[in-house]
């Protein structure tokens, strides 16, 4: 019987939907927009935070880091010494291992070098994750010991692409980073642990190779014993950490281990806050949609109160009537939910396309999975209840006798729309105001990102990266010789006007280094200044068309046999030299006592966004040193920059050919134009900014429709009153003002609340705002102005309409 009644209610709901097409359309649009945006964002939140690792009992897999707040180390790696101690002494982890990143230059049977993301792991990786290779075997414990035969495991995708999925790959010898390794296994499809690895090699667990304070450090990972919580494991390892700190203060003082769910390190606190702010914003849009629908239903309840009374008179109890009214809204929200799913599919497809240049970790995938669909069903149901319950309660709250004996045309005399609809409108305006301010901040941010004025050339610049394996290029001299030779060959390559090698590209953010200015006094370590450092070859500023402002650029003569020289940027001069003159001044890298020589400033160059894009408030002050003089710091990976005469996209092949003339085992990777580099750097701002813009526009649209609908209904209820006033001689202007007064009051209160809401809620947006203050007064003021204009218009149109009807007609309208 319950199902029977439900079907009848649904049938009636569909009939009512068809009977009131305008109301239905507005309600469906409101629900669709709200549910669609919420679904899109929840799919992103779900993919980023809730899917987790795709392994057996993945919630037991944890990361282990070492923190040292005094030294500003958050999520630092574990030394091999500490690893052995933690591994052997803990009582909370079933198994414990290490992982490390590292690019791999792979030369397979085809002799073609290619660059892959690799990972170095302890031999127990597959055991910890409970994953079995699809071919061959995992690592053996002895393969992480010093002197073991070098082996590797291939990722499924690399196996398919580079080795055609041949089973003969097992036992095959390949060259990786200049070293010959034997392939012993192939990982399952989609397995890319820890983040995006294509292949794995064992970490050599040999603590004794280094002193305790030195040596490599790796993130730890492990599997909790059954029933052991993350907190308990943290406490367990902390006990070991304290003992190590007491025993080895020189290496371990201030270090404390932390244990956390494995995937947590990818989503930092800022991103976490941002994702939930986004979800809140989307739910805000949905709430505005619900408020609109609720107001429409209040209006409809007024004309349906007699029907409700009849149902009650013939024996329907309140619950049955409320159920039927809710099912009617449910039909609308179900249709809105279905369209919302389509919007969600489109939104997620757009999001996936937008982030394709910088793919997320392997366990994150953004789609409408079962959890998202359950979410859609839940929010559709909640939206129906949110929009329909209050109107239904009001509709069923009127005295039966009164409603049944009302001869009229379904007038709403008994339904007090006043306070409730006022509260709904004020809430709607407040949420819209908050969302619009967020959207306004984002629009400004996206506009700034799109029009960011790069103080260097972007057009026709080819970029790529290059990694020299330590086995083939074991020391700084070997690397310096290679860089010098390769640069000269590049500069001689047809189609290249200028070329450079550097530790990074402009606007991608240079690292901070502690320095010491000659003559400066620094009583404590904290007093030493910090500036950004770039390590570049001659030709850097010419390639990026950044003119040297004073002095000279680097020359090939700036070698380690000559006086160490540096170039500083304008901000550096402004920040550190009171007399505004940089040339001739001396400073040095501060690291221990007199490790580095004094460098003399030989040139001043423009600010080239050394602080990176979007580091609001960070100082751009920085300096450049020559590759030849600082090859030890540079390491074995460099960026290539080349200004081309033609399409930079076509330059990759030529650069590869040039490189192959020197070392055929070296791949060129991350080949892209400088414009693509900038696009990649600004992707984060554009993607999240665009989402917020969508929220803002949807909120504005719904708020405008909602205000108009409520005002329209409100003044239509006052037709008779208006008629009486007209009959008494009121002028049109006075009537319009009278009709608008209530709407404008609601608008004013809602705006004030909205500003307060925005002031509280926009703070987490700061991470995705590009050079925009989260409390930008222009945006706050502008949004209030826009909302006021929309609100005035939405109030004026119905007010004017009702003021223009004939008094006799209005009086009859009763």
């Amino acid at each position: 019987m319950a199902m029977d009644g439900f079907i009848n209610d649904v049938k009636f709901g569909v009939r009512m939907l068809i009977k009131s097409p305008v109301l239905s359309l507005i309600a469906i649009v409101a629900f669709s927009l709200g549910i669609g945006l919420t679904t899109t964002v929840f799919s992103i939140v779900n993919g980023a935070m809730y899917k987790g690792l795709p392994f057996d009992e993945a919630d037991r897999i944890v990361s282990v880091w070492r923190n040292n707040p005094e030294r500003d180390i958050d999520r630092g790696g574990v030394t091999l010494y500490d690893y052995v101690e933690y591994r052997d002494q803990n009582s909370s982890l079933e198994s414990f291992g290490l992982w490390g990143g590292g690019a791999v230059n792979l030369v397979g049977a085809d002799d073609k070098p290619e660059r892959y993301q690799g990972a170095r792991v302890t031999a127990n990786m597959f055991d910890i994750l409970r994953v079995a290779p699809v071919l061959g075997r995992g690592f053996l414990p002895q393969e992480e010991e010093p002197g073991a035969d070098p082996v590797m495991i291939l990722g499924y995708e690399v196996w398919q692409e580079k080795f055609d999925g041949s089973p003969d790959v097992i036992g095959m010898a390949v060259r990786t980073n200049g070293e010959t390794r034997t392939i012993v296994g192939v990982a399952p499809e989609g397995f890319k642990f820890p983040i995006e690895a294509d292949m794995w090699t064992p970490i050599e667990v040999n603590p004794l190779e280094h002193d305790r304070a030195d040596g490599p450090q790796f993130p730890g990972f492990g599997r909790l014993k059954p029933g052991v919580s993350v907190d308990r494991a943290s406490a367990d390892l902390a006990t070991i950490g304290m003992r190590l700190e007491q025993e080895y203060p020189e290496s371990n003082e201030g270090f404390a281990p932390i244990v956390e769910p494995f995937t947590k390190f990818v989503i930092g606190d800022d991103l976490h806050a941002l994702l939930f702010t986004m979800l809140g914003a989307a739910i805000g849009v949905l709430l505005i949609g619900c408020a609109n629908v609720a107001n429409l239903l209040f209006a409809r309840a007024a004309v349906r109160e007699k029907e409700v009374a009849v149902r009650s008179a013939i024996g329907a109890n309140r619950k049955q009537i409320i159920r039927q009214l809710l099912i009617e809204v449910g039909v609308l929200s179900a249709i809105g939910g279905a369209i919302g799913v389509l919007i969600g599919i489109g939104g997620v497809a757009w999001f996936n396309r937008a982030i394709s240049t910088d793919p997320p970790p392997f366990w994150m995938s953004f789609d409408l999975d079962g959890r998202v669909m359950m979410f859609v069903i839940a929010i559709s149901g909640l939206a129906a209840v949110a929009a329909g319950l209050f109107p239904a309660l009001r509709a069923t709250g009127k005295g039966l006798n009164e409603a049944l004996n009302d001869e009229g045309r379904g007038s709403s005399s008994g339904l007090r729309m006043g306070r409730v609809t006022s509260a709904i409108v004020i809430g709607e305006v407040a949420i819209s105001c908050g969302l619009l301010i967020a959207a306004g901040l984002m629009i400004k941010s996206v506009a700034q990102v799109s029009n960011v004025d790069m103080p260097f050339g972007i057009e026709s610049i080819f970029t790529a990266r290059l990694n020299l394996p330590e086995t083939d290029y074991p020391d700084a001299d070997a690397r310096t010789d290679f860089y010098r030779e390769f640069l000269q060959r590049l500069q001689g390559t047809p189609g290249i006007e200028a070329a450079t090698l550097s530790d990074g590209l402009p606007a991608r953010g240079n690292g901070l280094r502690t320095i010491e200015l000659e003559g400066g006094e620094y009583p404590t370590e904290q007093d030493y200044p910090r500036a950004r450092e770039g390590i570049v070859t001659p030709g850097y500023f010419a390639t990026f068309q950044a003119p040297v402002l004073d002095g000279r650029a680097f020359e090939f003569a700036d070698t380690k046999d000559n006086l160490p020289v540096a170039l500083v940027n304008r901000s550096f001069v402004r920040e550190y030299f009171e007399d505004g003159v940089g040339l001739g001044k001396r400073f040095r890298i501060h690291q221990g006592e007199d490790v580095y020589d004094w460098m003399i400033v030989v040139g001043v160059v423009p600010d080239m966004k050394m602080e990176g894009i979007g580091n609001n408030g960070e100082s751009p002050a920085g300096y450049y040193v020559a590759v030849d003089q600082f090859a030890e710091i540079l390491g074995n990976t460099v960026s290539v920059g080349a200004r081309t005469t033609g399409d930079p996209g076509a330059m990759a092949t030529r650069v590869r050919e040039t490189l192959a003339t020197m070392d055929p085992n070296l791949p060129v990777y991350d080949a892209m134009s400088m414009q693509q580099v900038i696009d990649q750097a600004t992707m984060f701002y554009r993607v999240f900014g665009t989402l917020f813009v969508a929220f803002g526009l949807a909120a504005l649209f719904l708020a405008a429709v909602g205000l108009y609908g409520v005002m329209s209904f409100s003044v239509s209820q006052r037709r008779r009153e208006m008629g009486i006033r007209m009959a008494l001689g009121a002028e049109e202007g006075r009537l319009i003002r009278l009709a608008m007064r209530r709407g404008l009051t609601q608008l004013a209160i809602g705006s004030v609340l909205g500003i307060a809401l925005a002031a509280l809620a926009t703070r987490p947006l700061q991470v995705i705002l590009y050079e925009v203050d989260a409390r930008d007064p222009v945006i706050f003021g502008g949004v209030v102005l826009i909302l006021a204009m929309v609100g005035v218009l939405a109030s004026y149109i119905p007010a004017r309409r009702v003021s223009q009807i004939h008094p006799a007609e209005a009086l009859q309208a009763g």
Binding site: D4, F12, M16, A309, I314, G315, A316, L404
Partner: protein
């Protein structure tokens, strides 16, 4: 037709409407019995409390004071939900304004009380068709109320009132919105239903239809001022109701 035990008993019923500034005494000290199988009418001038009395008897409203027994059971202290159930099972309404639901077909309007009463679908259909046949409206069951004349709408309302075989039919000015021909036809319909055994309490201020009732209760300023019993000749002319 032999009149039996009181189906409805009101004792000391009082109804006061409270507003912000004043209280209105709509009914005062009402003592009334309606016997099973009786056709009674309440007469009086406009504003005398007729409809209020009918609402109290129909459990659409609650008395300020006094006791009410329906079929021997006290009903004045029921909750809203319990009152809805009693209305559904035991009371049929015929309103002056018909009060059919415009978005439901004739059949669905008649079926609705059975749905709320939890009657199975197959049984509902049979009962609804039978009720429509009783008022000669089964041929219009797929129509909507807006496609019917006033008289036809009131017959559908009568079918809806009787579909659940209630203990009593309450008719509030059932001819008030009809012309004289249709008004008479509806009264004949009520007389026919009465002849078939229905207990009817009708409110009217039209003396033309006074002759149809066996007993007339006169109401004035919220008080029962007089009651008169009459002899009525019953003619069953259900099918004569004009469209």
């Amino acid at each position: 037709m032999e009149n039996g035990n009181p189906l409805i008993r009101l004792e000391g019923i009082q109804k006061i409407f409270f507003t912000e500034e004043m209280e209105t005494h709509a009914l005062e000290d009402i003592h009334l019995d309606i016997r099973e199988g009786e056709f009674a009418e309440v007469m009086g001038p406009s504003g005398c409390g007729k409809s209020t009395l009918l609402s109290l008897i129909g459990l659409l409203d609650t008395p300020t004071e006094g006791s009410y027994w329906l079929d021997g059971e006290p009903v004045s202290g029921l909750t809203a939900s319990e009152r809805a159930r009693v209305r559904n099972k035991h009371i049929g309404f015929i309103f002056q304004a018909f009060n059919l639901i415009g978005d439901l077909t004739v059949f669905e309007n008649v079926e609705l009380p059975l749905i709320y009463g939890g009657v199975e679908a197959s049984s509902r259909k049979e009962k609804a068709i039978r009720a429509l046949e009783r008022v000669d409206m089964s041929h219009r069951m797929d129509h909507y109320p807006s496609q019917l004349s006033g008289g036809q709408r009131q017959r559908v309302a009568a079918a809806r009132a009787v579909v659940g075989d209630p203990l009593i039919l309450l008719a509030d000015e059932p001819t008030g919105n009809l012309d004289s021909t249709n008004g008479e036809a509806v009264m004949n319909l009520l007389r026919g239903l009465h002849a078939e055994g229905s207990t009817i309490l009708m409110v009217t201020h039209d003396p033309r239809y006074s002759a149809y009732a066996e007993r007339t209760i006169h109401l004035f300023d919220g008080h029962i001022t007089d009651e008169e019993e009459k002899q009525v000749e019953v003619e069953v002319e259900l099918a004569q109701v004009s469209g």
